[in-house]
């Protein structure tokens, strides 16, 4: 074999490289966030999924309990059908509500679940019936402008009296 010093150095080099790779894998990536263990799937339909992407977190009370597996368009109802993968340790009542929130002001979208009070639990393949769509900034601004505009009109002139109902 080559001189012992060579073998030594090669061994130390390979060890150092692998140690760095492992340390980086655990200390600097989101490996801890991966859903390990068993999980079950539920679906939810949203009229507007906003910026929601696959692998976005699903949170209850701010704690991550799962992630979005996929988002598809339903060609019949034109809803966004999202498949949520939740970890098996979390049991949710059938009347849980799902809403799409934004983390921070300009952050990424995530799904927040609001547990209800139904004694029956959601099982693999069930659908979450109560959903709220994502808030779209333009619609919000449009509503604000519309409300501001209509307030100005009512300040200027009193509203017309309602026409009397026929027959009364």
């Amino acid at each position: 074999m080559a001189s012992p010093k060579t073998e030594w150095s090669v061994g130390a080099f390979i060890l150092a490289g692998l140690a760095c790779a492992l340390a980086l894998a655990f200390a600097s990536t989101n490996s801890g966030d991966r859903l390990g263990g068993d999980s079950y799937r539920v679906t939810a339909r949203f009229t507007n999924a906003g910026d929601l992407k696959a692998r976005a977190p699903v949170k209850i009370a701010g704690v991550k309990v799962g992630e979005i597996e996929s988002i598809e368009l339903d060609p019949v109802t034109f809803d966004a059908k999202a498949t949520l993968r939740l970890s098996k340790g979390v049991e949710l009542p059938r009347d849980t509500g799902a809403s799409i929130f934004t983390s921070g002001l300009l952050g990424e979208r995530y799904v927040g679940l609001d547990p209800g009070g139904d004694p029956d639990a959601l099982r693999d393949g069930d659908e979450i019936m109560l959903t709220q769509p994502a808030v779209v900034l333009e619609q919000l601004i449009g509503k604000f402008l519309f409300n501001a505009g209509s307030e100005k009109k009512s300040d200027a002139a009193p509203p017309e009296p309602a026409a009397p109902d026929a027959g009364y």
Binding site: F13, L24, S28
Partner: protein, 246 residues
């Protein structure tokens, strides 16, 4: 034009000859281990120091720009994504090319000039299997390991600069770093790219060295070509792989 095409063809043929000469035998293994020592283990100092300085400067520059938007806490994201996706594999490969690629090409060029390669083939020893294959395999194995060392030093140096020198909160730094690096997409990219760059650099270095003109000038031309072509190939493959990964 036709000459360039012929040169590319020779290059491809050399690759196939080398792949055909890979044997899982003890002598080749011994040679490979020796080459890992020469080109891998002895490159660690330059890679580690280079990584540390890249980490320091990325953090500094990133902080200057991010703090104008009040986004100083995203420093971990900027540093880690740039190091894992681009700077780690590319700079490791270019430093490796400059240090080990030139050494490989010079060694092989000198062997060609002093007729050692001819002597090997006279003794019915496959010169490619004896001389080129160990260096190629050593390059493919060493560059990902060197890239890991580069990234580790870059991130550690970046953390040092951010939290001790610049005053960014350590917790935010690590949290934003961990949240933004995806294990398979970003971290995996580093090693895939590094392996491909290592193969390309070693292949180019052994090819130009093995096929060098058997003169002193031929050896020096081969050394220059190894570094220049190796670096250009690295940058080209980097773009290709980045496009594929996205």
């Amino acid at each position: 034009m036709l000459e360039k095409l012929a040169a590319l063809g020779r290059f491809g043929l050399f690759l196939f000859q080398m792949l055909g000469a890979i044997r899982f035998s003890a002598p080749q293994f011994r040679d490979t281990v020796r080459q890992i020592y020469v080109i891998g283990a002895r490159s660690v100092p330059i890679i580690a120091v280079g990584g540390a300085f890249v980490g320091l400067v990325m953090t500094l520059q990133g902080y200057r720009t991010l703090s104008t938007f009040g986004a100083g806490n995203a420093l971990g994201t900027v540093l880690s994504l740039s190091v894992f996706r681009e700077l780690g594999p590319v700079l490791t490969a270019i430093l490796f090319c400059g240090r080990a690629g030139s050494a490989m090409a010079a060694e092989l060029g000198l062997m060609r000039a002093t007729d050692q390669i001819m002597a090997l083939s006279m003794m019915a020893i496959d010169p490619i299997g004896k001389v080129a294959v160990p260096r190629f395999i050593a390059g493919v194995i060493s560059v990902p390991l060197l890239a890991a060392i580069f990234c580790a030093f870059a991130i550690l140096a970046g953390w040092f600069e951010a939290s001790i020198v610049l005053g960014v909160d350590s917790g935010y730094f690590w949290a934003s770093l961990q949240n933004s690096v995806d294990l398979s997409q970003d971290y995996g990219q580093t090693f895939t790219k590094a392996a491909v760059f290592g193969a390309a650099c070693s292949l180019i270095a052994t090819h130009v060295g093995y096929h060098a003109e058997p003169t002193i000038e031929g050896t020096s031309v081969a050394t220059t070509q190894a570094v220049v072509y190796g670096s250009l190939a690295t940058l080209f493959l980097d773009f290709l792989l980045s496009a594929v990964f996205y």
